[in-house]
């Protein structure tokens, strides 16, 4: 204890701070950083989960960049991102903007929007999967058939399948984004709006000049958060295409699903780890880029 007594107050504060930080630091070290480092190591090795790991250098990466399926999957992942993020951002803002002004049954409406976010993605994906079936079992196609309109193959099509899977994923995330947007809207001081009303400016000007600029931190958060979500999309795709994961013809397969299949159905852990490292780098780059573009200068 002598050592402790000899410390200055500042040093004591630091010692205590680290003592309290020890648990999260250890937790992060063991649960996050150690496996991450291990995954990077495995990406340079060949391992089938059962035998020894053997060093293969850059083989896994070479194979990855020469694999046409990887590039297809890479493209799909960005289609999910570039379609999903703006669409969900616009819809959730429009809903939040109008919901914010509605007093009638406000709490109930908000709950309705938030419910899908609380529903298990697996259950939701299966229900939508059945909605999309052809006649006689699919809801949408039965409806079309009863109107005398031709069938649409939602999931069994290389062009329609990806948007069809994206739709419920966007819908599921909407509730959360609406709540965040509403919190952001409430945080804007009323005095700005009052001043604008006294000056007699139009609603559009209020929206463009006051609401949106002041919502910037909220928008940054939602864009980063939902981008990461769409880059990691898995459960909706996997559950809506279980028999033919990511199909037809890999047209809906995102990177995470490819990683999962490589690791746990082909048991090629090294190759899967290489894909994981690429995904990690993509997520890192996208997040840094967005923070830089959208942050206040």
């Amino acid at each position: 204890m002598k050592i402790y007594r000899d410390l200055t107050i500042r040093q004591k504060q630091i010692a205590w701070a680290w003592a309290f930080l020890a648990i999260p630091v250890l937790f992060y070290g063991i649960i996050r950083f150690y496996p991450t480092g291990n995954a990077i190591l495995i990406s340079f090795q060949d391992w089938n989960l059962l035998g020894d790991r053997t060093w293969t250098g850059l083989d896994n990466y070479e194979k990855l960049f020469a694999d046409p399926v990887f590039w297809k999957v890479f493209r799909n992942t960005f289609v999910y991102l570039l379609l999903g993020t703006p669409v969900s951002l616009v819809i959730s803002f429009v809903v939040a903007y109008h919901l914010d002004k509605t007093r009638f049954m406000h709490g109930f409406l908000r709950m309705l929007y938030f419910l899908p976010f609380m529903t298990s993605a697996v259950a939701m994906a299966w229900v939508w999967r059945w909605f999309y079936q052809p006649v006689p079992s699919g809801l949408f196609n039965n409806f079309l058939a009863s109107m005398g309109i031709g069938q649409i193959s939602f999931l069994n099509s290389t062009t329609n399948a990806l948007p069809a899977i994206l739709a419920p994923a966007v819908w599921a995330g909407l509730g959360f984004q609406i709540i965040i947007f509403m919190a952001g809207l409430r945080a804007i001081p009323k005095s700005y709006y009052e001043a604008a009303r006294i000056d007699g400016v139009s609603n559009w000007t209020v929206l463009w000049e006051i609401t949106l600029p002041l919502l910037k931190p909220t928008i940054v958060f939602i864009v980063v958060f939902s981008s990461i979500g769409f880059l990691r999309i898995f459960d909706h795709v996997y559950n809506m295409t279980t028999q033919n994961p990511g199909g037809p013809l890999n047209s809906t397969k995102p990177l995470v699903l490819m990683i999962y299949e490589t690791a746990f159905s082909s048991f090629d852990m090294g190759y899967a780890a290489a894909q994981t490292v690429v995904l990690f780098l993509v997520l890192l780059a996208v997040s840094l880029l967005q923070l830089r573009i959208l942050r206040d200068r």
Binding site: D46, N48, L49, L50, G51, D52, R129, W130, Q133, P134, V135, P136, S137, A145, G148, G150, Q151, L155, N156, S157, T158, Q243, N244, G247, P248, L249, E261, F264, S265, S266, F267
Partner: protein, 419 residues
């Protein structure tokens, strides 16, 4: 230093406790692992009980896991000296287990290869290496044609015995709505289900081909026979008058269960699931032959093996246990409880079993069944799925799509076998 001491202490206390326990019961305990499937667990419990009655000095402890975790757990446990003495694994995984030194060959004195060759159905020989067997199944599975009796009566057709009759019966049972959309299929289709096995080991061979060469290391279906098989298969849903649709009611077996499909090819493991469906009257017949009577079938199985962890008296006990679970008695229990077929003709081809209206067609199918030696079953199945999708969704010709599938599958095989 400290860790070492702690380990030594732990080991000492563990052995003394084990010695105490062992002294009291004077028994050797072995562990058996399998993945969780209700009927299999029940059947194994019965087998263990019978085995322990016959061998009071041995106790068998069964552990089971969800299928998804199974491989990982086995791989982690055995090298650590934990886990099973006898383990169940899918036949397709055998190579991986042998190479990782997780299992040891069965002793030749109790399981002589010549005796097993003579007594078991021939496809079991995939487990043989030289004159030793690595593993043996209790039960095997094969394919057969399920049919909906009510729909057959309604359409006035009988269960088909040839491929031509199959198409005719399917045509008679297909129904469409006013817009021409199929609302009831004559026959289910989908490479994602069991059809990829039917196509590989059934249709290709029936058309005179041989799907693989060199012990399943070389793809050989990009031939005249392969093309005929593919054209027959896709003709069911891409012809002028389709009798089925891919993805009809989501999954083939769902359509059959719902009574919206006249016929459906599936494995013997489906029997249990269909038996409980109320209002569904179904029958089973052998896979249809070609006009000249050629038949072929696919068979797969789960095997039991002794792990490298079993040594000394545990090894002896494990050998005895293996001997029992591959006995005639065990096979009959497995058939009665799980509905999987006996691995020996002496049990399977008894008067009662071979003429059973439900099990019979599957058991008769075993006689002409082949077992594909997969390098990566789901990746290889994916090639069959995509072969059909390229034709249906991208309009590729059958010949081109077949060639592309053969090339892609060969790549998977080469990569696996070069390791």
């Amino acid at each position: 230093m400290n860790v070492k001491r702690l380990k030594a202490f732990a080991l000492a206390s563990a052995t003394s406790i084990a010695a105490l326990a062992g002294g009291a019961a004077n028994a050797v305990e072995i562990e058996y692992w399998q993945y969780f499937f209700d009927a299999r667990v029940t059947a194994m419990e019965q087998l263990i009980e019978n085995f322990q009655d016959a061998n009071p000095d041995i106790t068998v402890k069964m552990t089971h896991f969800p299928y998804a975790d199974y491989r990982t757990k086995v791989a982690a446990a055995i090298p650590a000296g934990e886990g099973p003495d006898v383990v169940q694994l899918f036949y397709g995984w055998l190579n991986d287990y042998v190479e990782a030194e997780l299992i040891q060959p069965l002793p030749a004195d109790v399981f002589p290869a010549s005796k097993i060759d003579a007594e078991f159905f021939p496809m079991v020989q995939a487990m043989k290496d030289g004159d030793q067997y690595w593993a043996l199944p209790t039960a095997v599975r094969s394919l057969a044609l399920f049919y909906n009796e009510r729909l057959m009566d309604e359409a006035g057709v009988t269960p088909p015995t040839t491929l031509d009759e199959l198409m005719a019966a399917a045509k008679a049972m297909t129904k469409r709505d006013g817009a021409g959309n199929i609302t009831q299929v004559g026959m289910t289709a989908g490479m994602t289900a069991q059809d990829h096995h039917w196509w590989r080991e059934g249709l290709v061979r029936q058309m005179g081909g041989e799907p693989y060469l060199d012990d399943y290391k070389t793809v050989n279906y990009n031939t005249e026979a392969g093309l005929k098989a593919l054209e027959f298969y896709t003709g069911m849903f891409m012809g002028d008058e389709p009798v089925t649709a891919i993805g009809f009611m989501d999954e083939p077996q769902a359509a059959f269960k719902a009574g919206r499909a006249g016929m459906h090819i599936d494995g013997s493991f489906r029997i249990g699931a269909l038996a409980d469906i109320r209002g569904l009257k179904w029958g089973v017949t052998e896979l249809p032959a070609t006009n000249d009577g050629t038949r072929s079938n696919y068979s797969s199985y789960w095997v039991n093996a002794i792990t490298t962890k079993a040594e000394g008296e545990k090894y002896d006990a494990a050998v005895k246990f293996m001997d029992y679970v591959t006995s005639d008695e065990a096979m009959q229990i497995w058939l009665d409880v799980v509905g999987e077929l006996p691995a020996k003709p002496s049990v399977g081809m008894t008067e009662k079993n071979a003429n059973d209206p439900v099990f019979g067609p599957f058991i008769r199918g075993l006689e002409y069944a082949h077992t594909t030696k997969f390098a990566d079953e789901s990746a290889q199945r994916q090639q069959m799925v995509e072969m059909v999708e390229r034709m249906q969704l991208q309009g590729m010709s059958a010949a081109d799509s077949l060639a592309a599938a053969a090339e892609a599958e060969q790549k998977i095989l080469d990569e696996y076998h070069s390791k």
